[in-house]
């Protein structure tokens, strides 16, 4: 099973396997898993092998190699790749090939990583189950009757199914952390602005962030080292020094660290007992590692989801205006009688139900006469929410809590009930609204063997602190070493 980038690097360095052999293993694993899990929207065998071959050649000629030399990686299909389609799992962009690489993709290539393919997702990253994809649903490798979560469900399942050791996801309201939790892997949403969004097809620009997914925090740190950093092409990118994230994972001594727990959130309705148990257990582990546990409160927590579901659809309604059939993407086949009907039909055919729902919510929230009541009010509440995080982080170094209210739910369970689906984001959207980094890490299993994630949140730019605590947790637990039965 390809489950460690560090192991892949070691194998090559020791001459035990070539990059081509490793790429072949990844490609074979994808082939074996795809019909069951459907984690990928596009796999490019030739391109992957060619990239691996050039890594081998580089190594043979003694040239310096990138940090991810020969490591197979899967990329969420919302990130632009000039040599593969970028579809956002939407009919609207079926077959669309961008003329450029996203910054993170450029960085992966520069680090000599081998991009094996694009992973499935909820259409335009809107969803929490990967069921809104136009290219079929993705299944959870731990239990194919369950969802892998979403929207980065493909990216999480690709790692969990052992096809690649690393993948890139994106997180607008929990889209890295929730699938990581459901698939028993580790997923980091960095600080807003830490990773350049250039080439990330926008869902909600003020919330979107790209992040790593892997089995462990150590491996996430490896990928963070490659993708993080200021970039002038993204005006919201933060011009801040980037630490070596792998250094953060070297110590396990948490003495002196204060970890805040949102105790009242654990009492909230609809939270599965197994989740409560896992969080309580995690509190114990952190305490044992030397951390001081403190109760904290984020007073506006009940407004997170409503605020998010005004701001995100508003931005989405604007960001998705460009898909109008005029320049690229899906255009209604039949001759339209005029421009407006061409627009209407192209968009009616190209977008799925959830995307349309959010475009309508957002259009309404931004309309004249309603903007003050919805969008502008949501921006004000967002400032209050940020204030809550600032206040909490003046008392504690990290926040600990659940990622999701339940383990992976059954496919089809919530797809017809948008409100239930939106409530999956209950614990995750706060970090997006506040712009702070957050990590989901394996924290146990429910009685039926489904993985459970726990979440740590840190102040702005403190990804290292998250990775430090997560790595310490993983040194004391073995949940991240468990693998689904294949």
């Amino acid at each position: 099973m390809l489950d460690s980038a560090l192991e892949v690097l070691r194998l090559q360095a020791a001459g035990e396997a070539s990059a081509v052999e490793i790429a072949e293993r990844a490609l074979d694993a994808i082939e074996a898993s795809q019909s069951t899990h459907n984690a990928y929207t596009h796999v490019d065998r030739e391109a992957a092998l060619a990239a691996a071959k050039s890594v081998d050649a580089k190594r043979a000629s003694g040239k310096p190699l990138g940090a991810l030399a020969g490591v197979p990686i899967a990329v969420k299909d919302v990130l632009c790749t000039s040599d593969m389609p970028t579809t956002c799992s939407s009919e609207m962009l079926r077959g669309f090939r961008p003329p450029y690489d996203a910054t993170v993709v450029e960085k992966l290539r520069a680090a000599d990583a081998v991009i094996v393919g694009k992973t499935n997702m909820d259409e335009f990253a809107m969803g929490a189950s990967t069921e809104t994809s136009a290219f079929g649903i993705t299944k959870n490798p731990w239990d194919p009757s369950r969802t892998p979560g979403g929207s980065s469900g493909g990216a999480a399942a690709a790692v969990a199914a052992g096809t690649v050791p690393l993948s890139l996801g994106t997180d607008t309201g929990g889209s890295i952390r929730q699938p990581a939790a459901f698939c028993g892997v580790t997923g980091l949403k960095p600080t807003y602005g830490r990773v350049s969004r250039y080439g990330l097809v926008a869902f909600a620009s003020s919330l979107d962030q790209i992040g790593p997914m892997a089995w462990s925090a150590d491996e996430c740190a490896l990928l963070m080292n490659v993708i993080a950093g200021f970039e002038p092409r993204d005006s919201t990118s933060l011009d801040q020094a980037v630490p070596d994230f792998t250094l953060a994972t070297e110590s396990n001594d948490l003495r002196g660290m204060r970890i805040g727990v949102l105790r009242e959130s654990l009492q909230a309705e609809g939270i599965d007992e197994s989740i409560r148990t896992a969080v309580k257990h995690a509190i114990g582990v952190f305490a044992e590692l030397g951390a001081e546990i403190v109760d904290v409160d984020l007073p506006h927590r009940e407004y997170w989801v409503p605020t998010y579901y005004v701001i995100a659809p508003s931005e989405a309604s604007s960001n998705l205006s460009r898909y109008d059939g005029a320049h690229y993407g899906h255009r209604a086949a039949a001759e339209a009688k005029d421009l407006v009907s061409m627009y209407c039909r192209s968009r009616a055919e190209g977008f799925g139900a959830e995307v349309k729902r959010r475009i309508m919510i957002g259009t309404y929230a931004l309309s004249e006469g309603y903007a003050d009541e919805y969008y502008n009010k949501a921006l004000k509440v967002r400032r209050l929410i940020r204030g809550d995080f600032d206040a909490a982080f003046s008392q504690v170094d990290l926040l600990l809590g659940p990622v999701t209210p339940t383990p992976a739910f059954s496919l089809g369970d919530k797809i017809d009930d948008p409100i239930q689906m939106y409530l999956c984001d209950l614990f995750t959207v706060g970090a997006n609204l506040a712009g702070v980094p957050a990590i989901s890490l394996p924290g146990g299993f429910d009685p039926s063997g489904l993985p459970i994630g726990i979440q740590l949140q840190a102040p702005t730019l403190e990804e290292s602190r998250l990775l430090f605590a997560a790595s310490a947790f993983q040194s004391a637990t073995d949940y991240h070493t468990q693998r689904p039965n294949q």
Binding site: L79, C80, T86, C88, L93, F96, P98, P99, Y100, A102, R197, Y198, G199, L200, V201, A202, A204, S205, S206, P232, R233, D234, S235, T236, S314, E315, S317, S318, L320, S321, R322, D324, A326, H327, Y328, D338, L339, V340, Y343, T363, L366, S367, E368, A371, Y375
Partner: protein, 490 residues
């Protein structure tokens, strides 16, 4: 029926294309006239995932413009998305500024067209930055609704300058526009090439009719997208008459009909209502999440204010007094913008003849620039070269005609003046050689000799042409002098 007393209320929205080398949010060129869709990139094409980055030069030009029209530059400005669907707007929204424009609360003083000695102060509500859209070309020749889109212009920086409804006549509107254009050109903020669309005008107009003491306001009409001042004047005159007639006929007022959007048909000379849909648009403005608000430190504003230099009026007056040129000539030079004034200053100062410099610039330089489609900044003949050339004319070393040849050669081939003179085979003609030539001509033209002797000195003129025919380097002044001297001596 006699017309009731009526006041015309006019406000103008002027879109000025800023003279930046690259677009507002990407590195694509803003050059006009390139083949369609050759100056585009993922950002200005609005491709998925591409993000805008602000062009600092555009900010600076906007501040310059704002200061010149007496605006405040608030310490914080931000970007908003104005959303509508149109094929020449590939993102489905335009990045513009809604509630925090870069320039606010200005004014412009114009000469009152009705009284040349009086001035009128026209308020300026705001000036904001925005990106231009592409161009739709509706190909009617194809016999159907076939349209082509050129996105080269997409993302070009515009400054939209919005006046208060302080203008009362079409002539005042013209005076305002003329003044505004002059300032923008003078500051190097914009070329204001109306035929290239780098200055476009929307005019809002309605009437206040005084019906026996009761003030009735007609519906406001916004006449969109006019690209000549002549059209603006004509459209305003037309609207004044049309609105009065419409009111007489229908009694429509601003209360019943609000505001409508019209176009101007230049061929028919009429305004016409545009589609209802375009009027009722809800643009759903909201802050653009891809761009951060901009803080503009007051020190920076003051730096820019200090760099503004003299106003067009000040320059005009200085050119007249410093170089003794006429008001008209100073006006032409100033209206070409500051770079031209600087060019003129160098030429006039170095050659010591401001009038000659002015006439050369207005004729030869401006014509050549137009022919070559060049700007004065990149023109092949430097001010120093032209000054050197004109000095040679002043000293009699070169005739005006030969100097033109040299100028043409320089503008086409570059190089220095001596090289050009050599290349053109121009040499100073030796005095004795000239005398021999004139003697021959006098011998061959006895009638000219007789005419001059009889007091008609102008007759010598016919010899000048002949002399130049035999030796193109012959100086007409010299030919004339020698001929008169020889005839006198004979």
């Amino acid at each position: 029926m006699s017309q009731l007393p009526t006041t015309t209320i006019i406000g103008l929205e002027v879109h000025v294309q800023l003279k930046t080398a690259t677009k507002l949010f990407c590195g694509c060129s803003t050059k006009f006239g390139s083949p369609p869709n050759t100056q585009v990139c993922p950002v200005c094409l609005g491709l998925p995932g591409a993000l805008p980055v602000i062009n600092e030069h555009a900010i600076e030009l906007a501040i310059r413009a704002g200061l010149a029209i007496n605006c405040d530059i608030p310490p914080l400005t931000k970007w908003d998305r104005k959303q509508y669907f149109y094929p020449d707007l590939p993102k489905g929204y335009q990045i513009s500024q809604f509630d925090l424009p870069i320039c606010a609360d200005g004014c412009l003083e114009i000469t009152d067209p009705a009284d040349g000695d009086a001035t009128r102060k026209i308020g300026i509500t705001r000036a904001h930055l925005e990106e231009d859209a592409g161009k739709s070309m509706h190909d009617e020749a194809a016999g159907r609704a076939d349209s082509r889109i050129d996105l080269n212009r997409c993302g070009t920086p515009l400054l939209e300058i919005v006046s208060e409804p302080d203008l009362r006549t079409a002539e005042e509107a013209l005076a305002y526009l003329t003044k505004l254009k002059e300032i923008m050109t003078h500051l190097g903020v914009s070329d204001c090439e109306m035929q290239e669309g780098s200055l476009r005008v929307d005019a809002n107009v309605n009437l206040h009719i005084d019906k026996h003491g009761e003030r009735i306001a007609t519906p406001i009409v916004e006449v969109k997208n006019m690209n000549s001042f002549r059209n603006v004047v004509a459209a305003l005159h037309f609207e004044v008459d049309r609105q009065y007639a419409e009111w007489e006929e229908t009694g429509n007022t601003i209360e019943t009909h609000g505001k409508r959007t019209f176009g101007w048909d230049d061929v028919k000379g009429v305004t016409y209502p545009q589609r209802e849909k375009e009027e009722s648009a809800d643009y759903r403005y909201f802050p653009c999440p891809d761009l951060l608000p901009i803080r503009i430190p007051s020190e920076r504003v003051e730096e820019i204010r200090a760099s503004l230099g003299e106003t067009p009026e000040e320059t005009r007056e200085r050119l007249q007094s410093q170089y003794g040129i006429k008001a008209y000539d100073a006006d032409v030079i100033v209206s070409q913008g500051r770079a031209m004034v600087e060019y003129y200053d160098v030429v006039a100062m170095a050659c010591g003849d401001g009038k000659r410099a002015s006439s050369w610039i207005q004729q030869d330089v401006m014509r050549t620039l137009k022919e070559q489609g060049e700007d004065i900044e990149t023109f092949g003949v430097t001010a120093e070269q032209l000054a050197q050339l004109l000095s040679k004319v002043s000293s009699g070393e070169l005739t005006n005609d030969r100097a033109r040849d040299v100028f043409k050669h320089l503008s086409e081939n570059g190089g220095d003046i001596d090289e050009a003179i050599k290349a053109l085979g121009i040499e100073a003609v030796d005095e004795s050689e000239m005398e021999t030539l004139v003697k021959e001509l006098l011998a061959a033209n006895p009638k000219v000799v007789d005419d001059v002797k009889n007091g008609n000195q102008k007759a010598v003129g016919s010899l000048i042409g002949q002399a130049r025919g035999r030796n193109p380097n012959a100086n007409p002044q010299k030919v004339r002098e020698i001929a008169l001297r020889l005839i006198d001596q004979a």
